[in-house]
Symmetry: none
Subunit: 224 residues, 2 copies
DNA sequence: TTCAATTATTACAAAATTGTAATAAAAAAG
DNA sequence: CTTTTTTATTACAATTTTGTAATAATTGAA
């Protein structure tokens, strides 16, 4: 369940938002003001923050800037005034979206889901067949089971997966992995690395379904 | 210069948007309808698409779905109707934002910049002081110079940098690096890893500026 | 089919990583 | 100031990674 921190000093409004979002399957925590909101934010991890831009006890913009400096939690501003300068200022402190009151509940949900999608799926994983690289953690899994790769194997796999379907010449790969770091390695070192990667990520290394050989050219990661 | 594809069949409106955005430093290409828009989109790479949701010769939603299926170009819907169902439908086909006419030029620019920021800077690097992790390549640099980390050291650093400013307890770290993978390691193994990381990324490991010890609790990465 | 070129595999030392134990140093408590 | 607790450092063996060489297998061309 996705958790939302609602920072809003208009209690009746906060109550109605809370109720509606709870009904939509979100876990809502309500903070009545700036102090309260910052405290709650630092105590717990939230998936999204709904923030009233004009709080009585302080500036919503400042809270947003603080939240953004601490991490990458999406922030959506709520505001009574449809004042344009607010919108612009909001985006400047890193807000993800902005919705003017009165807003329609379904639009609010749509915007929240949109923000969540952007952040969760912010391309921290690279996938190819049943192999997934979680670049945010530096972990590789095959069918959900962790595969332990060495530092260089990991980099090689990233190179392939971030160029899925694209042919990578031997030269390009060698450049990316070795020559750019000032090293020079033998000619068939890459062959060996491919073999080692295949041993770890292919169902059957003898018949690779992921790391394909393009004879005379190089290799290519394919997803099918 | 950022290029924008504007798909809008209301010519006077399109002209005014084009002029305004050009003045803001964007390169605007105007398509008068669906057919034209799709053709232009496939012929050239755009940084962002502004799309009228209700085109005379077809459905804006369908174009958006098509664009999203072809890649990851941000799409912002323009619409005359402030109709809520449109907003929801727009997000469902993967739109990045939605702005109802009449819109204020500055708000339009703010929303475009927001969308561009989200897509380009999709957080592939983690930074702390002069140390940068490029998670898209799996490479760590200090002052631009590459630092070679082992697989576990890399993961540990990612853990710290993606929780910058947040205290990580010894237990939390050990869980993330070892126990979750089913391993159990000795009690002071973490001390040793911290030392090794500091040796590699700190100016002076004896006086750490990045990986701070929080006695009795754990460690914390700080940026200052 | 035969041959040459390319890629795959195996095996092996040198080097690096990994976890642990022992010891030292530093900080908090008494 | 001493003692205790916590963290840092060093040193060490087992394991893994890394690059290379030698050999085998495969492919495409002649």
């Amino acid at each position: 369940m996705r958790s939302i921190l609602l920072i809003e000093d208009d209690n009746p409004l906060a109550k109605s938002i809370s109720e509606f979002l709870s009904g939509e399957g979100f876990k809502v925590t309500h903070a009545r003001g700036q102090t309260d909101g910052v405290k709650l934010f630092q105590a717990e991890k939230f998936d999204c923050v709904l923030l009233d831009i004009s709080l009585e006890d302080g500036n919503g913009l400042a809270i947003c800037a603080l939240i953004k400096s601490l991490g990458d939690t999406p922030v959506i501003f709520l505001t009574a005034s449809a004042d344009e300068t607010c919108t612009v200022a909001g985006f400047e402190v890193g807000a993800d979206d902005y919705i003017g009151k009165p807003f329609r509940p379904r639009e609010l949900v749509a915007r929240i889901k949109n923000a969540l999608r952007k952040h969760s799926g912010s391309q921290t994983t690279l996938k190819c067949a049943d192999v997934v690289i979680d670049t945010a953690r530096g972990v590789v899994t095959k069918n959900g089971e962790e595969v332990f790769l060495s530092a260089l194997e990991y980099r090689l796999l990233i190179l392939f997966f971030s160029n899925k379907g694209i042919l990578l010449t031997r030269e390009r790969i060698a450049d990316e992995l070795w020559t750019l770091s000032g090293e020079f390695v033998g000619d068939n070192t890459l062959n060996v690395y491919i073999k080692r990667l295949r041993d770890k990520i292919e169902d059957d290394a003898a018949e690779p379904k992921i790391l394909k050989t393009i004879r005379g050219m190089g290799y290519k990661a394919v997803d099918e």
